[in-house]
């Protein structure tokens, strides 16, 4: 027995030694297969994988404003300008306090994405063996659309950039001159975009009718926008007292476009816009009759049955592609989560930019012009009656509701002091406080400061007197962090085409081109009619002017990411945002409603309004757009690494 054990032990020993020796061959032990990497061949022969690739590229399209939140490309950036101010978390109070726009705030140099797009355009030819030619063409055209979009994002921020349309490879030989590409002129980039869009628009048939992938009319809409931008840079830049320009050795303009090119661009912009208006399946949304405000809100924010949107970045809560825009921006009194709300609050300037539907100025009447006394309103919402329906669709003003819930807004109570013959202002230190009257006066059970403010110091409640409605989701639960929202971010919609056409037509009428001022008025009247304007509010060739066209874009497209770029291409940004604390257009003002406590008079119980401006409470610095901001600073690394590059002017 014992011998047997010893024998087998010796065998084990031998085995042991053998094992030890065998372990020398462990070449494969260190090779592990990753679980989520796929190969070129797998991608390019599977349409679903190519669509996955497109999903990646669409997702990476540069954005300055959006519904997601990120440094330099989020919704919080709306608070940098003057349509709205920051009323949210205190730790981002810096958004109220910017001294200037900095030189790189909207700088972009995303050649990683351009390379990936170029590489994809090349690889689809190299690796796709199993796709039919039609499919190949479609994907290629879509990739070229994306590349055009990315170049447009660059040119509007940076001016002319190096035009790279093939993948560049460097062999690390020590001589990189072959891959040092100089900047093209600004016009060349716009021309490239225009010609690309012309070349591909008929190859995008598979996507016809899509609002989230490029089709023929997406391409045309982008063309209309880019050509309008090019035209207005040519037109307005050359009309500045000192045009912004930067020439290369051959006299080409790296920034700025010669004025004489304006007409051609405007013609193309008008033609493209007209084609979209006339031939595309997109139509202006008219789903809610009799309520232009509700209709306008749905035209932008609601997806169901919305044919107006041409191109959007869509979200889908059930697949965890969602955003917190509603959580951060829902009005305080009706928020569903307990931490955040009310971050972006529109200012008085934007509210007053909306005319009354009879065509009269949008200025709110808070004081009697002759007596200087308050104008007394029966309700807190009366002052807004008769306003442009687009205001209601964009903003929640006092007296309005959202999701069927009222959003109470009242800053305090005005108590009449008979001895001084003036009102004293009483405001609550907390929200939702009540007011029960003065000593000697009748007892009342009023709101002092409403749950929705406005309040001068409390955070996460409006400091400006208004709340945002556009893009704020009216679905239950959308303002909680658990559920979140999946409203879409509208990149292009049909209204813009009307406004593009109007602006191009108006400019052409000035330049002696093919359109008239009446054409421009007609395009705008379509939008005004939908917004509930009366006949007296309609424009005609004689009453329309450029200020009206600019204002119409501001109010129609508010919070859709147009204002900054519009003011840049019109070369008005440095005047509108001139850094002057007393300039209303460079600041955000507020409107505070009060209830009047003046027993024994007809004024008792009525509502009055204080305009607080030019700066609303807690708003600190006037917006200051400097000449350097017209073309952002090219990143220093890019300049350092490519001696062919020339920095933009004023940097």
């Amino acid at each position: 027995m014992r011998n047997l054990i010893m024998k087998s032990l010796n065998r084990y020993t031998l085995l042991f030694v053998l094992l030890f020796a065998m372990t020398g061959c462990d070449g494969d032990w260190l090779v592990r297969e990753p679980e989520s990497i796929i190969t070129e061949e797998q991608v390019w022969n599977d349409p679903e994988m190519i669509e996955g690739l497109l999903a990646n590229y669409y997702d990476r399209l540069p954005r300055f404003h959006s519904l997601t939140d990120g440094q330099g490309q989020g919704w919080a950036e709306f608070a940098l300008f003057t349509n709205a101010m920051w009323s949210g978390q205190e730790n981002r109070d810096g958004l109220l306090n910017i001294e200037n726009y900095g030189t790189t705030w909207w700088a972009l140099w995303d050649y990683d994405l351009i390379r990936d797009l170029n590489l994809a355009i090349e690889n689809i030819d190299q690796y796709s063996t199993e796709l039919d030619p039609d499919q190949k063409n479609q994907f290629k055209a879509e990739l070229r659309f994306l590349r055009a979009w990315v170049y447009f994002q660059h040119v509007k921020r940076m001016g002319g950039v190096p035009l790279v349309t093939e993948t560049l490879e460097y062999d690390f030989s020590g001589d990189p001159s072959s891959v040092q590409i100089p900047r093209s002129t600004e016009a060349e980039i716009y021309n490239f975009i225009g010609s690309e869009l012309d070349a591909i628009q008929d190859s995008l048939g598979h996507n016809a009718g899509s609002q989230t992938r490029a089709n023929k009319y997406t391409a045309l809409a982008l063309k209309s926008r880019t050509m309008l931008y090019a035209g207005s840079v040519a037109y307005h830049n050359s009309r500045m007292s000192q045009p912004i320009t930067l020439e290369n050795e051959d006299g080409g303009r790296l920034v700025g476009i010669p004025g004489e090119m304006a007409q051609g661009y405007y013609e193309e912009a008008l033609a493209a816009a007209e084609e979209v208006i006339q031939n595309s399946p997109n139509t202006l949304y008219n789903g809610v009759s009799g309520d232009p405000g509700a209709n306008f809100y749905q035209a932008v924010t609601v997806k169901d049955g919305n044919n107006e949107v041409i191109f959007a970045e869509d979200f889908m809560a059930s697949a965890d592609r969602r955003h917190l825009f509603t959580y951060f921006n829902i009005p305080r009194p009706i928020r569903e989560d307990n931490l955040d709300s009310s971050s972006l609050t529109p200012g008085l300037g934007l509210i007053e930019a909306y005319p009354y539907v009879d065509g009269s100025s949008g200025e709110l009447q808070t004081r009697d012009a002759t007596t200087g006394d308050y104008v007394y309103y029966d309700s807190v919402g009366e002052i807004f009656e008769g306003k442009d329906g687009r205001m209601d669709g964009t903003v929640i003003v006092p007296g309005e509701s959202f999701r069927g819930q009222s959003v109470p807004m009242q800053a305090g109570v005005k108590v009449w002091n008979t001895s001084s013959g003036s009102y004293e202002t009483v405001e609550g230190s907390a929200l939702g406080s009540t007011y029960s009257g003065e000593e000697g006066g009748p007892e009342v059970d009023w709101t002092l400061t409403a749950g929705g403010g406005p309040h001068r110091t409390v955070q996460n409640v409006s400091a400006s007197g208004f709340y945002l409605r556009k893009f704020v989701d009216n679905t239950t639960g959308a303002s909680t962090r658990g559920t979140q929202s999946d409203t879409w971010w509208v990149r292009m919609r049909l209204s813009e085409m009307y406004l593009n056409a109007a602006e191009a037509a108006y400019q052409l009428s000035q330049l002696g081109g093919s359109a008239t001022a009446q054409d421009a008025a007609d395009y705008i009247n379509v939008l005004r009619e939908r917004a509930g304007f009366e006949q007296s509010g309609m424009l005609d060739g004689s009453s329309i002017d450029f200020e009206t066209i600019m204002n119409e874009r501001r109010i129609e497209l508010a919070f859709e990411g147009h204002r900054l770029w519009d003011l840049i291409r019109w070369r008005r940004a440095h005047q509108v945002w001139n850094g002057d604390d007393s300039n209303p257009t460079a600041n955000v003002a507020a409107l505070y409603p009060y209830r009047v406590y003046r027993p024994g008079t007809p004024m008792h119980g009525k509502y009055v309004f204080d305009k607080i401006g030019p700066q609303a409470p807690s708003f600190v610095n006037a917006r200051w757009f400097q000449m350097a901001n017209y073309y952002a600073r090219i990143p220093q690394d890019a300049i350092n690494n490519n001696p062919e590059l020339v920095q933009n002017p004023f940097h």
Binding site: L9, Y12, T13, F16, V17, F20, T23, D26, W29, L30, R32, E33, P34, S36, I37, T39, E40, V43, M49, G52, L53, L54, A55, N56, Y58, E90, D93, N97, Y111, D112, R115, D116, P162, L168, E169, Y170, P176, V179, I181, S210, R213, E313, D314, M316, A317, A319, D320, R321, D337, N338, S429, A430, G432, T480, R481, P635, A638, N640, N641, N642
Partner: protein
């Protein structure tokens, strides 16, 4: 020089051998061996003549008799559990000696990589801690028991929430490799061991770690768990303690009066005319009571004297062929915040059996469960909000509506109302980690000195995170109708589970050979090992319909995240040891190591090391000269190369699979036409030319002891230089328009340099008192040697920003040279400090030094003002001692550190940060006017600048040495009084031994952070973190 030394040494050796050989005359020596403490005789003590096999042992009376070759020989007395003593005969024939129980230096053997070595023959810098030592300072985590004990080990407990370990580093080199019973393990495995199960811990600090190759460049911590011992009687041990914990420190919030007054001051100092409170209101708040009640949210959130306790039991012993050790330990630690707790259960079963004379099989099975129970507070970290609420809540508002504890008050920000922080109201999180490890060992001894052994290990770890955050209402009290009106509290229900499964596999084969040929002693080791890891993690989130049902439903699910991690490593190990007569020691070692992280060409690396030692005290000439005073002297030197695939924070230097091209699945996403499309993203150019970082460790050390080893000291000087830290090469200027980055290469280098040492003394006063005192210290600091990515634009840029050839992570800032004493001084001050002609300054504001003398303070005036922040301190030190009188024992342990920087920020810097309250000291000790309602009243000085509310952009708040402190501390970590019940009393009840003790942990700290009421070890700049606890406890240790 070298040659001359060699010649002299050769001559000395020859002379010594000659003397020894001429002195051979047999003689008789006899005597008695007793214990030092109580002079009891010791039977069974081994006595040998040193350097021979001649020996005997004491009889039952403790007497011995021995024939020795010469009366000039040395006798070696050894006995289990006692320090071995070497006693030169010096011509005597009767030698009575007493022996001392084993303490720190008593371990004969020390665990080194892949084996054990005799302490005497160790040539590397290795420190070890024995189980007795660990037992003396029971801590929740293993690392904490090392703090202040071992030179070279540095620690920082920046967050001491229940169950969390301190950041342990060896010589500040970064996260070390932990090896438990021969198997590479994680820091968590080490920290959460059952400390009663540890036999010894060894810390390999220099080239001695090179035997662990690719993962050893930050040092190695080796842990050996206990075994039973063949032929040992069965011993049952039960031990436990119970203690009460409190925070060492936490900033105290201001009361309502101070808060309201501060609000008025803030408005006054901002120049506002409309003040938020009237004089009358302020008086009311001062008097308090009724609606002017003040609420102390520190007291509301924290509860004092919360329990921590542990109970453990073990059975160990063995027969001729079986040895076993079985144990179970349970620890519970409540947090100082209600409803938060940690508990842990450890099980260890070590069994070994001899199958034949030559073959041994064994198994080590260990398992543990860590259970963390938190309140489910919305937001990321459940512990953070309670801390935040201490300062975010206003002391003027009540946690409960109408002070009725059934109704959460609708405060200004209900999210930080601590009334909601109970598992019943806001919800709960149960975070459980379960782990089991199974090691199987086999060893076969050949009769010619060769041993073959193998170990296989399989470990499964599972993480189970289970959280539910409820919806709840807050209430407003309607006094008139005595009604509680529900308003929104939290409408964001959150239910989440996260699962993780980790599987670690490990296999090693090892051959050991040792042979003595005369005075030449040789041993060699060859080993092969491979290991791999796979981790699977899943996260599921639902939006539940109600607060009652814990079962999750697909219809409510809105999130699924799945991730897989893989790793694999393999290595060949070789080591060769040689010593001549235990005097001249040499060790050569090497490791050939491979990692999955790198592409094929860069996968393998060779990491060699060499070390040598000279035991000077073994030389006869030395013995003659110093034999009575210096009992041991050893000089050591080592040079070793190790590799690293991770940065010092244990992150891979490049992402796994970076060498693979292709596309990543799940890279972004889009919704096209109402359908979801998973993104497929190009991976970019593969990174193929990055390989491991190489680290070269150099160490010179000296071990010395005096007076029969009563006084012993060790000192080591070291450097670890790392080359090949990944960076993008600067000479390759590649246009950004290429669209890809120049791939990184192994380019940069840095070094950690330092010195460490320890000294200890074992003494005796009269018959009954013995004592031991010791001290140790470590200084280790990082330096950047070269940084490829830095290019200076000008000489200032170079001075300010170049990291090259500088100490790492210096804090820069302005130097505060005083405070403005008056408005007049501000008006006339020649230097423009705020850039606005000092318009923004008030009396009490900081005066910065205009270093360049240009009359304006700009970035150019910033200078180094501090050390690294958040790192382990550059200097650590410890003092420890114990005193025994008969059965009683008093021991203490102090741990300290210096050369670390901390910046007060947020709640500790800005008044009313986050629209909340401030610490009391900020609102009482600040510059202010005598009368908050009189803006012309005189200024009264204080520590903080004048209160103007948060005022973030103000120049006072730029980086400067008013806010940044160079922290030092010395903490009384342990103070313990124990008593061992006399044996004869216990024998009657069948108890082998019983010890009882009372203990204080972290009772006091000497430091410079006291006035800010923060623990000196925290790194959170706002102070809102779980500080170390102080604890009073009592415990027992019973053996049957």
């Amino acid at each position: 020089m070298y040659k001359v030394t060699k010649k002299i040494m050769g001559f000395l050796m020859f002379a010594l051998i000659f003397i020894w050989q001429n002195d051979v005359h047999a003689q008789q020596v006899s005597g008695t061996v007793t214990t030092q403490a109580n002079q009891e005789t010791l039977p069974g003590v081994n006595i040998v003549v040193k350097g021979t096999s001649i020996g005997t042992s004491t009889n039952s009376e403790g007497n011995y008799q021995l024939t020795v070759p010469s009366l000039q020989d040395t006798l070696v007395f050894s006995f289990v559990g006692f320090q071995t003593r070497e006693v030169p005969i010096n011509g005597r024939t009767e030698i009575d000696i007493s022996m001392q129980p084993q303490v720190v230096t008593g371990e004969e053997m020390v665990v080194v990589g892949y084996g054990e070595q005799q302490v005497e023959s160790v040539t590397g810098s290795i420190s070890s801690v024995s189980s007795e030592d660990l037992q003396e300072t029971p801590s929740v985590t293993t690392g904490d028991a090392l703090v202040g004990k071992v030179q070279g080990v540095t620690a920082r407990q920046a967050d001491a929430r229940p169950g969390s370990p301190p950041q342990i580093e060896i010589r500040n080199l970064g996260d070390p490799l932990f090896v438990i019973d021969g198997v590479p393990s994680t820091e968590g495995d080490f920290a959460q061991l059952g400390q009663g199960d540890i036999e010894s811990i060894s810390v390999l600090k220099d080239a001695s770690a090179a035997v662990y190759g690719l993962r050893a460049s930050s040092g190695v911590v080796l842990v050996q768990t206990k075994d039973g011992g063949y032929g040992q009687d069965t011993e049952i041990n039960i031990n436990g303690y119970y203690g009460w914990q409190n925070y060492t420190r936490y900033p105290q919030p201001a009361n309502a009066y101070q808060y309201v007054r501060g609000k008025v001051y803030a408005a006054q100092n901002r120049g506002e005319t409309q003040l938020p409170y009237t004089e009358e209101e302020l008086q009311n708040w001062r008097q308090g009571g009724g609606e002017y009640q003040s609420y102390d949210y520190y007291d509301i959130v924290m509860e004092p004297m919360v329990p921590q306790n542990q109970l453990g039991a073990s059975v160990s012993g063995g027969s001729e062929s079986i040895s076993y050790y079985l144990s179970a330990t349970h620890l519970t630690q409540k947090a100082v915040i209600e409803d938060y707790s940690f508990d842990r259960t450890n099980i260890q079963a070590n069994i070994e059996g001899t199958i034949s004379d030559r073959l041994t099989l064994g198994a080590e099975i260990s398992a543990r469960m860590e259970n963390r129970q938190n309140v489910g507070v919305p937001g990321l970290d459940d512990y953070f909000n309670p801390f935040l609420s201490v300062f975010s809540m206003w002391p003027t508002e009540a946690p409960y509506a109408n002070n009725n504890p059934n109704y959460v008050n609708d405060v200004h920000n209900v999210n930080v109302n601590p009334a909601t922080y109970t598992r019943d109201i806001t919800g709960w999180v149960n975070d459980i980690w379960r782990q089991g490890r199974f090691n199987i060992n086999a060893e076969y001894d050949f009769d010619f000195g060769l041993t073959l052994s193998g170990t296989g290990s399989y470990q499964i770890g599972s993480w189970d995170f289970d959280g539910f955050e409820y919806t709840y209402n807050a209430y407003q009290y309607d006094e008139e109708n005595d009604e509680y009106i529900p308003v929104q509290g939290n409408d964001n229900p959150w239910r989440e589970r996260r699962w993780r499964n980790n599987v670690n596999r490990f296999l090693s084969f090892q051959a050991d050979y040792s042979v003595d040929i005369g005075n030449h002693s040789i041993s060699a080791l060859a080993a092969y090992e491979r290991s791999d890891f796979r981790g699977d993690e899943q996260r599921i989130h639902t939006v539940p319909d109600n607060n009652y049902i814990n079962v999750m439903s697909f219809s409510n699910q809105d999130l699924l995240i799945h991730a897989i991690e893989k790793q694999a490593h393999a290595g060949y190990v070789g080591r060769f040891n040689y010593n001549y007569d235990e005097k001249y020691l040499l060790e050569l070692l090497g490791r050939y190591d491979g990692s999955f992280l790198f592409p094929e060409d860069n996968r393998w690396g060779f990491f060699p090391g060499i070390s040598a030692g000279w035991r000077v005290s073994e030389e006869e000439f030395f013995d003659d000269a110093f034999g009575n005073t210096i009992s041991n002297l050893k000089i050591r030197a080592s040079y070793g190369r190790t590799g690293s695939e991770t940065d010092s924070g244990n992150n891979f230097i490049i992402a796994p699979f970076s060498y693979r091209s292709g596309y990543d699945y799940y890279a972004g996403s889009s919704v096209f036409d109402g359908s979801y499309y998973t993104g497929v993203g190009p991976r970019g150019r593969p990174i193929t030319n990055v390989s491991w970082i190489t680290a070269v460790t150099k160490n010179i050390g000296l071990d010395i002891s005096f007076f029969d080893d009563r006084l012993s000291a060790t000192i080591d000087v070291f450097e670890r230089r790392r080359d090949g830290l990944p960076a993008t090469p600067q000479d390759l200027v590649v246009p950004e328009e290429l669209g890809y980055d120049t791939p990184p290469q192994n380019l940069n280098s840095d070094a950690a340099r330092g010195i460490e040492g320890s000294i200890s003394y074992n003494g005796q006063i009269g018959q009954d008192i013995s004592y031991r005192v010791g001290a140790n210290a470590t200084l280790s600091r990082w330096r950047v040697l070269s940084d490829e990515n830095f290019r200076a634009g000008n000489s200032w840029d170079y001075y300010r920003n170049s990291p090259e050839d500088r100490w790492s992570a210096i804090t820069w800032g302005y130097q505060v040279i005083g405070r403005f004493q008056s408005q007049e001084q501000i008006d006339n001050y020649p230097v423009n400090i705020d850039g606005q002609g000092n318009r923004t300054a008030l009396p009490g504001d900081l005066i910065y030094k205009d270093v360049n003398g240009d009359g304006i303070i700009t970035d150019l005036d910033q200078r180094p003002i501090g050390y690294a922040q958040g790192w382990n301190p550059y200097t650590s030190f410890g003092f420890n001692g114990s005193f025994s009188y008969k059965g009683a024992n008093l021991s203490f342990n102090l741990a300290g550190a210096a050369m670390q920087s901390y910046t007060r920020d947020w709640e500790l810097r800005y008044f009313f940060q986050n629209n909340g309250n401030s610490p009391e000291f900020m609102l009482t000790d600040r510059w202010h006017r005598a009368d908050p309602f009189d803006p012309t009243s005189e200024w009264i000085p204080g520590h903080y600048p004048a209160n103007r509310g948060p005022n973030y952009g103000h120049y006072n708040y730029q980086s400067n040495n008013y806010w940044t402190h160079n922290v030092w501390y010395l903490r009384l970590q342990n103070l313990q009084l124990g008593y061992t019940i006399p044996r004869d009393l216990l024998a009657q009840v069948g108890v082998k031994s019983l010890r009882v003790y009372v203990k204080g942990t972290n009772l006091y700290s000497f430091d410079n952070m006291k006035k800010y009421q923060i623990d000196p070890e925290i790194s959170a700049t706002n102070g809102l973190v779980y500080p170390r606890q102080s604890m009073y406890s009592f415990g027992f240790d019973l053996s049957l």
